[in-house]
């Protein structure tokens, strides 16, 4: 080789050695990963978009700025105005705060890296998914009918049809004229296609609408879903149903006696069952009230009540009071005719007649005994 050729080759290598780093910049920088948090945004949600780049070349690359722009998903945070150099084999992560301003779908905001010294720029479309599907809530357990003051179990199931997990899920019952225990149910994280149930003890005092509000977070964004349950009072098909049968009315001194049977024809137990004569009858001793106690379904018990009624009374109500398992009080009334046997003395005797009578009998007896004794003594 001629010396001149050797010099030219050496000079070229020197030039290449000096100019090498500048020419390797854009080609060696690659976007290795991108992610959003939450993974799937909802409309209006704010999240973070993270882009990681790596320098796959042998030389340091100088970067002037990093930017994100686009429509549908817009950046809220500022651009990286002065990034600096990234060494060979190194990685760097850029995080942007974004908001989903568009509709549903997959958006591609542009991630742009500007290299120094006019070496161009790197553009990378980052996919961001936006989906507005909300958590679902449904009532899976409730009584056939609600009753005033009667506690009912309400079971709410919350499902997550979204492609990403929901966090901080809780159910809060809201409404007036109700008492609910617990006042809120916490579920926590709910995986995609997962579900969880919450049971509430609800006691209504009036007919109303109860809203079960499902609150959850998608990332840092709080969302709610309402489930409305109308509370309309009705007859519980399972509730206790005391029925009075085999009634027999007997007049007694100062009033009447009613004996009969009371049977629970319902499907639930009747507790603390009391049988009393109602107005216009006035209960009198010895059976002003008859305590039956608990009547299980299909159970039967005899009862006996005594009362006084005014002249002209043809029928009187016999009231059966009972409670359910929650302590709520109920009353069932059965009219019993007394007209055809209304022969009871009406005068109030204050229960003193027997004592006065005994005294009268004793005095007469003493007098007669004295007369008899006297007659034999004089014989």
């Amino acid at each position: 080789m001629k010396p001149i050729y050797l010099a030219i080759v050496t000079l070229l290598c020197a030039v290449l050695a000096v100019a090498g780093p500048a020419s390797a910049g854009p080609a060696d920088i690659t976007v290795t990963s991108s992610a959003t948090d939450p993974p799937v945004l909802m409309k209006g949600d704010t999240g973070t978009l993270t882009v990681t780049i790596q320098n796959n070349g042998q030389n340091t690359v100088a970067i002037s700025s990093a930017r994100l722009y686009g429509s549908g998903v817009v950046p809220l945070s500022d651009s990286y105005a002065s990034v600096g150099e990234i060494g060979a084999g190194n990685s760097k992560t850029f995080t942007f705060t974004v908001r989903a301003d568009g509709g549903e779908g997959t958006f591609y905001p542009q991630f742009v890296l500007d290299f120094r010294d006019g070496a161009g720029s790197l553009r990378y479309p980052v996919p961001v998914q936006v989906e507005d599907t909300v958590l679902s809530a449904s009532v899976i357990g409730k009584p056939d009918a609600f009753s005033e003051g009667r506690t009912a179990d309400i079971t709410i199931r919350v499902g997550n049809p979204r492609p990403n997990a929901a966090s901080g899920v809780q159910v809060i019952p809201q409404g007036t004229g109700i008492t609910v225990t617990p006042t809120g149910g916490f579920i926590g994280a709910l995986a995609p296609d997962g579900s969880a149930t919450v049971v509430f003890n609800l006691t209504p005092t009036t007919e109303t609408d109860v809203a079960f509000q499902v609150i959850w977070r998608n990332g840092i964004n709080t969302h709610t879903t309402d489930l409305v349950l109308p509370i309309a009072f009705g007859e519980d098909k399972r509730q206790a149903d005391p029925v009075i049968t085999n009634v027999e009315v007997t007049p007694i001194a100062g009033g009447y006696r009613i004996v009969g049977d009371v049977m629970n024809a319902g499907l639930e137990s009747a507790r603390s069952v009391l049988v009393t004569p109602g107005v216009p009858a006035t209960p009198i001793d010895p059976f002003r009230v008859y305590v039956v106690g608990t009547l299980d379904p299909d159970d039967i018990s005899s009862f006996e009540v005594t009362f006084r009624a005014d002249a002209g009374t043809t029928e009187v109500p016999v009231v059966v009071e009972y409670r359910d398992d929650d302590g709520n009080r109920y009353a069932a009334t059965t009219m019993v005719g007394v007209g055809s046997v209304a022969a009871a003395p009406l005068e109030e005797r204050d229960g003193g007649i027997p004592l006065v009578g005994i005294i009268i009998v004793a005095l007469i007896g003493l007098g007669i005994a004295g007369a008899i004794y006297y007659s034999w003594r004089r014989t």
Partner: protein, 218 residues
Amino acid sequence: MDTGFIRVLLNPGRFFEARMQDEPSLKIPALIALAIGLITAVSVIPITNITMAMLPAEMQSLGLLITIFSAAVAFVGGLLGWIIYSFIFYIVSMIFKGQGDLKRTVEFTGYGLLPQVFGGIIGTYFSYQLLSGLNVPPMTSPEQIAEFSESLVTILATDPLAQIAGLVGILFTLWSANIWIFGMKYARNLSTRDAALTVGIPVGLYILYSIVTLAGWL
């Protein structure tokens, strides 16, 4: 006072002993029996009124007639009681070989009814007290009348007033029995023991029946 009512009640032995000196006379005993009959007639008026109230409207016009008839039956019943007691004592005393005129037996039995006058008055008072407070509902069917009658019987059997009246009646019957013992002793010339048996057997049976009825054992 030898023949006075007080002596009959308190000292019947001396009274009948004195009466034996005279001819038998039924005048005063008949007056006593009449008084008992009248009291009995008055005592059935309230129960008759209740019975009247139970009858249908078309039969209400017969009310006065039924009341008079009931009172008359009760009056005759009072007199019959005197005669029946007399014959029973006379027949029973024959077991003990009693000797004496039937008329004398009837006379002394009549005197022995004197305590029944007081017993009848007190019993009538109780009867009015008990029955005046009854409420008689309007009834349209024989079944209702029968049901009411049953309840009325129940009341009369269970009411304390009725039971007190029954006890008072028994006490006055005992008093009469005591007088009858002395009466039969002289009228039928019996020993005291035989006279007591003559009176005690029928009267005892009657009192036993009354007690059983009052206690509701029948």
